[in-house]
Amino acid sequence: MERAEEKRWLRAAVKGDGQAFAALYRANVQAVYRYVYHRVNDVHLAEDITGDVFTKALESISSYQDQGKPFVAWLYRIAHARVVDQYRKSNRRPQESDVEAEPIPFEANMDEALLRRQAGRALRQAIAELTGDQQQVIILRFIEGYRLEEVADMLGKNANAIKALQHRALRSLGQRLERAGLDIATILAGLA
């Protein structure tokens, strides 16, 4: 959805237009779902939380004020709060030791498809174990493909802070993958 079109829908939705809100929902539901999924690493939980996010957005849409950011940035903020809620409620946020306790086996004779699946699984698990801020940077920057300045704007931080955070997140991710026995260079060579 183009920004101009999104603004039109937003203006209508803020005034209580249900069709406009439905259009915004359809345009953003997958992005919110991906964001939540990579944070909780659970398909069903991601669906539930995505539903909560849009329910909350519907309740609060009348007070939405356009600050020049894409609408999805507001949804991400709601999603972030819901994910944190979920962690607190369930107290099930994975600990660092979980990675070492259950390493995902990588073997030299794995076929490429299996290797990719295992690598994907290890990577998703490693992302889910990062800190909340690190997760947000990794997801928005490298999965959703936003530019660094856009990520900074969405998270309400300055670009330099995001640069440092980005480095810490990538380093932590690499270390986790290494501990899980994943040879990133080999995987990347296989994907090339």
Partner: protein, 397 residues
């Protein structure tokens, strides 16, 4: 290399390389060759970033998307009617209710609202309840009164002001509970959220008072003295307040952040309408009393009433000698010495508020009650203590 030792230049180089590698304009090895001094640091970061960028993300199934959409659509009419999950006024307030045009009826209704608020703050049980917080004995009366005000405001089209006042009142209660070291109740939080949401819905985004309220409310969310019922409790309010703020750092001009006008109760800014001069005759300190000089017959009937002699000639309430009392737009309170009123059982003295000499006080809700009492006393005197003058026909010896 530890993180503390990282040259800030590295972050910029990492960002440059990430951009190039992710866009495909340079390979990972080319970046490492370009910045050999940072190759050891760059390599794992770029590898992790590249791998992550190739990660496939699942999609929410079409059935789940449709299911959720149907659920949301089912909620939309309800959301249209009531902007909050737990509206205080239930069905009385329409979310998109058009504001009635200004008319004589509206002006009259505005006066009614002003009267209600003044009455609520001026005296009696409602005023006594105005500082109560949840858990205190008169709090329910305070809330009941607020409902009356909101219902009337919905008729007069003053919901913007009413909801902003209520949001400020809830915020004041939150801060008052924090001062006492009490844990906030979930109901208070919910009501605060509702009032804030309605204040946002009914007030324009350029409203300075709303901006001031939002700024204070945001500060309260970060106030460590507040004990929240649970750690996530402020999140919903934060979601409501922060996106609604016009700017995180308001303009530095004095009008931009009028937080100094925030008061403990919202009623202070809604001062009662002063009585017109004809209902409140000017109180003239009698320096020479009693006087028996009749006023000229051209005066108003009340001015025909001669002053009554008193046993303790200190002060006498006398009507203004001027047939056209001067109307002041902002009535002032002139300090008076203690007033002794004549011959009414049980009410002989009214204690005036202590005012430093030379200081002028604008009547407010807190001193309105004695002001009314004074008026009542003067009315009583004119009706009962003084006889009407005898009219003698001309030519009578």
């Amino acid at each position: 290399m530890s993180e503390q030792a990282i040259n800030p230049e590295f972050y910029d180089i990492l960002e440059t390389c990430l951009d190039a590698v992710l866009k495909g304009t340079a390979s990972l090895d080319e970046c490492l060759e370009r910045y050999p001094q940072y190759a050891d640091l760059l390599k794992p970061d770029l590898q992790a970033a590249l791998l992550t960028s190739k990660l496939k993300s699942p999609r929410m199934s079409g059935a789940a998307v449709s299911r959720l959409e149907a659920r949301l659509v089912a909620q939309i009419p309800k959301a249209d009617r009531t902007p909050s999950a737990k509206p205080i006024t239930g069905k009385v307030i329409q979310f998109n209710a058009a504001r009635p045009a200004r008319s004589l009826g509206r002006i009259a209704a505005v006066l009614v609202v002003a009267f209600l608020i003044a009455l609520g703050s001026g005296g009696g049980v409602v005023a006594a309840a105005s500082d109560d917080v949840p858990g205190e004995s008169l709090y329910s009366i305070k809330r009941l009164w607020e409902r009356v005000v909101v219902v009337v405001a919905s008729v007069t089209g003053q919901l913007d002001e009413a909801w902003l006042r209520l949001a400020q009142t809830r915020l004041d209660e939150v801060l008052a509970m924090a001062e006492r070291g009490w844990t906030l109740t979930p109901d208070l939080l919910s009501d605060w959220q509702t009032a804030t949401q309605n204040a946002l819905a009914y007030n324009g985004e350029d409203d300075a008072e709303l901006a001031a309220y939002l700024q204070t409310a945001q500060a309260a969310l970060d106030n460590p003295a507040i004990t929240w019922p649970d750690a996530t409790a402020p999140d919903n309010l934060r979601l409501l307040i922060e996106p609604a703020m016009i700017s995180p750092q308001p303009d530095s001009t004095p009008n931009a952040a009028p937080t100094a006008t925030m008061t403990a109760t919202p009623t202070v800014t809604l001062s009662p309408t002063p009585l017109p001069p004809t209902q409140a005759p000017a109180v003239v300190p009698g320096t020479v009393a009693p006087t028996t000089t009749p006023l000229p017959p051209s005066a108003t009937p009340r001015s025909l009433i001669p002053a009554t002699p008193t046993r303790t000639p200190t002060l006498t309430l006398t009507p203004s000698a001027s047939p056209f009392p001067t109307r002041t737009t902002e009535p002032t309170w002139t300090p008076l010495p203690p007033l002794v009123l004549p011959t009414r059982p049980g009410t002989t003295q009214i204690v005036q508020p202590t005012v430093p000499p030379g200081q002028v006080i604008v009547p407010s809700a807190t001193i309105w009650y004695p002001y009314l009492r004074l008026t009542e006393e003067s009315f009583y005197l004119t009706r009962t203590a003084v006889g009407l003058p005898t009219v003698v026909p001309e030519g009578t010896p």
